[in-house]
Amino acid sequence: MNIELIMAKENAFSLKFDTDWQYAPAPESSDHVEIKARYDLFIGGKFVQPNSKKYFNSINPATEAIVCEIAEANEQDVDDAVKAARKAFPAWTKIGGKERGKYLFRIARLIQERAREFSVIESIDGGKPIRESRDIDIPLAAAHFFYYAGWADKLEYAFPNRKVEPLGVAGQIIPWNFPLLMAAWKIAPALACGNCVVLKPAETTSVTAMKLAELIKDAGLPDGVVNIVTGAGKTGAAIVNHKDVNKIAFTGSTQVGKSIQKSIAGTGKKTTLELGGKAANIIFEDAPIDQAVEGVINGIFFNQGHVCCAGSRLFVQESVKDEVIQKLKIRLETLILGDPMDKNTDIGAINSKEQLKTITDYIKIGEQEGFEKFQANVAIPKKGYFCAPTLFLDVAQSSRLAQEEIFGPVLAIQTFRTVDEAIEKANNTPYGLSAGVWTDKGSKAFNMAAQLKAGVIWANTFNKFDPTSPFGGFKESGFGREGGMHGLAAYLKVS
């Protein structure tokens, strides 16, 4: 390295993003949105009050205001929902794939028509920036219904020379990070295959699921084909333990996934579990660095890091470490954190007070372990649950930051020297949901893809989702695949 470069490094010229030209607030209007004061359960095509007589509040995490009340379903309610699904099942199977496809197409189109309303509610109830709910969550949810609508009358072609039958009643439990999208991931393939469902959204994000229930009613779907029960862990457990449920599809934490597997052992219930992750994003020295940096930012800060496949571990080859870290820091300066309803917001609110505590606890752990911390210079709003985008530098493989899922905007940066070391470190985790590889060399990317133990591997990109592509994990990230043709197999008995 010549003397000029060494001096440049020491001086570290910086760019100023605190500009004279500031973007004016650009809030998305919520005037057109109707949120009821209270939502009941959706069972057998009707909105019914819960047997528990109990309701809980749904909170807007950006303002801490109460959005509405949500019914708490108890065992009796879950039983009613399963019975309604069971009752609807024979007719739903009998009408055939072509008819089922029509209903799914109708649901997809209605989601598109009401996309603006859904995206606004998703941001109010969940805290994610309107840009993401508008451009990603809702369009993808519609895309999943469209995709599986197309399969409904072609199931035999997906499994040539095999006989396919629906499973029956599917119990589906979904997380709070992509509320409507996860509902679509679960409901669309199940219905296409001829099953009926009992779906439970996460307790902090039930509103779009209940709006979906209204939409499903408007679509004229036969009563009981889709039932939506709201509540917390106990409601979920009631679904898992119900004797007349044939299939459990769960997306959420590894801890809960393990307990589900324990409780259904020996019952013959079919399962798919999509659990946590601690994805490695690996940057080689020959990578397109600017695009890689953008991919890393997108990988960890998309949806405030509440993404099971988030690229929460960055492995960067030592020869380009300084450049990558400098550029990450610069990029952090231009991220806009704040009101999820503002169209310019990049990072919205953390989904709940509990999750914010989990994340801040991990940040404290990182500090205590002595790793260098870098946080974006952003003003944190006084109200609401917000967390500044955070980098930890030179994190050790043995650190909890590198081993445990944080599910927030916290990136653990590690370095490596050789390809083998990158593979070994990336695979040295109990998880295996996704990974990212950044290199200009195709052979290297394919070699990495073959050796990384992860369900999804992105090369020179990250966090790309498409209904045609299967998604799922290795090891503690779960089993079974959702999306694509693989997603059909999870809802069929193939013989």
């Binding site: 010229f13 100023k16 030209w21 840009r131 600017d290 695009q291 890689a292 020179n460």
Partner: protein
Amino acid sequence: MDFTKSPKIDQVGLVERAARFKTRSIKKDAKIQGLKMALSMIDLTTLEGKDTEGKVKQLCYKAMHPDDRLDVPTVAAICVYPNYVAIAKKTLGASGVKVASVATAFPSGNSNLTVKLEDVKMAIDAGADEIDMVISRGKFHQGEYQFVYDEIATIKEACGTSRLKVILETGELGAADNVRRASDIAIHAGADFIKTSTGKISPAATMPVTLLMLEAIKDHYLKTGKMVGMKPAGGISDSKTALQFLVMLRETLGNNWLTNEWFRFGASRLTNDILLQLKKQATGIYQSGDYFSKD
């Protein structure tokens, strides 16, 4: 300097990042401020075979007085062929509007260095404040990077105190990697500005290609502390696009580049669209094009 080692660009990621800037919502005061800034960065251009002194004079007046009924700045410069530099300089007087001249056998650049230097000298002698040269794309494609570098360096020397804008003609370079390499060559050879296009070739100034050139400028600045300007030219004809370019500039290079010292739009039709939008912001009404002077 080995320009074959220029950083690699991933085209897909580049396009994606550029598209992201378009999602920024620029409203109200931010919009007015942005539009005025864009206007002040325009190199009002006429580069036609049928250019005349009359046309150039008209353009100079427009550059100094985009619309006297609105509170707007002058444009940054006017951009003409070398033989109209003198008349432009005279017409613009002490208005502060600069005169830029294309040179070096514009637009193809297919001539020898002697002719190119003569071309530059003619413009400089006539009083050009800025020279917009073209690189030898043929030599670039033949892999003769040193030739391209030397040519730029020689022209830079001939420019004296006039600022040099180096046109890469990105529409003829093909791959993003080539644009990055050409940017690095121009920057290292002493370009004061790097510029996308002549305006004679399509595609011209797209957002992705401009972004990757901004990133080349950024890398150079981070390593050396030296600023280089950027001029997207060709194809930017409406206010919305201009604002999106400014958003991209703001979030890639930051505050220091948000001035016509370091950023220009090479455009002719953009001016009136900005005036139309500013009028709309002031009155709430979109007016017909007839209310804005063509030249």
